[in-house]
Symmetry: C2
Subunit: 194 residues, 2 copies
Amino acid sequence: MEERLKKQLDFSLEIDKEKSVFRQTHLSGHGRNENDAEHAWHMAIMAYLLREYANEEVDITKVMLMCLIHDIVEIDAGDTYTYDEERKKTQAEREEAAKQRIYSLLPDDQREELAGLFDEFEAGETAEARYARAMDNLQPLILNDSNDGSDWKEHGVAADQVYGRQSRTKLGSEKLYEITDAIIKKHISKGNLK
Amino acid sequence: MEERLKKQLDFSLEIDKEKSVFRQTHLSGHGRNENDAEHAWHMAIMAYLLREYANEEVDITKVMLMCLIHDIVEIDAGDTYTYDEERKKTQAEREEAAKQRIYSLLPDDQREELAGLFDEFEAGETAEARYARAMDNLQPLILNDSNDGSDWKEHGVAADQVYGRQSRTKLGSEKLYEITDAIIKKHISKGNLK
C-alpha cells in the first residue's frame, strides 16, 4: 500500500478512540454520559441545519469539519469539564502535545490542514470558528435542558459560570444566544442553577 | 420562539436517540459495539480525508451530510445487520415509515432536503452516493480488521457474503476497493471468514 494511503488509514483507525472519551453531558431521557464522537456528530448536523442564524456568512463545509475534528486531541488530553477551573490550567498544554502526536499520523498536507482547523477553532477569531463554537455550547445545552438541567445540578454549577461560557454563543449567533439566554433563565427560576 | 427555529431544535433533540442504536461492529481494541452516531461521525471524517480516491469528482459537503444523516431512520427502524437476510426483507418498509416521521419534525424545506439526501444515498445512483456508500463499507471494515475479523467470526460470515456487500465499494472508489480486497483475502487466509 502507498505510504500516503497507509497514513490516512492509520489516522482513521486512531480516531476511533475518540468514542471512548466521555463528557459530563448526559444523553436525553436521562441517559448515559455522552462521548466526544457523538457530540461532534451532533454538532456538525446542528451547524448545517442552523446555519441561517450565523451572524456572518460562513463556509459551512469548514464549520462542519471543525465540529467533527475539534475534540480529537482529547484522545490523549482527556475531556476537560468546562467548569473545572483546576484542570483547565493545564488544558492548552495537554491538547498541544496531543495535536502534535495525533495529526502527525497524517500525510504532511493533511496534518497541516486539520491541525490548522483545530487551531482556528480554538482561537475563535474567524466567522467559522465563532459559529462552530456556538454549536459547541448549544448542543450540550439542549441535552441538559431536556434533562431538566441535571448536569448542572450534579456539579452545583452557578448561573454566572454558565453565562461565562454560553455568552460566547453571541459571537457566533445573536439569534441562538436569545434561545440560550431564555433556557438559562428558565433553569435559574426553577432552581436548577445556583 | 419562532415556529421554524422550534422545529429545527426539536429535530436536533430527536436525533440524539441515534446514539442509542447499536450496530454489530465493535470498536477497535476489541471494544464495545459501536452506535450509529459514532459510525456516521467516523464515516464523515474518512470521506473528507480520502476524497482524492473517489472515482468521480464529488461535492464533498453533500457526501459528508449523507454520511452524517444516513442512519437517522434507524432511530425508529433499528439497525439491520448487513448479513441478516430475514430482517433485510422488511428494512425498506421500516425505514420509509421512519423517514416520514422523523424528517417531518423539520421545516418543510429542510425535511425535503434531508429526506432527499437519504433517498439519494439509498439509491446509490449519484457520484456522491456511490462514494458515501463506499465509506459505509470501509469504516466498519477497518474496525473489524483491527479486531482480527471478530465481527465476522462471531456471526460465522462467509467470504462471498462479504464480497457481496464490499464489492459495491468499487463503484465509489476503485482504489479503496483494492485495499478492501486485500483485507478480505488476508482474513480468508487466516480462517476468519468461511
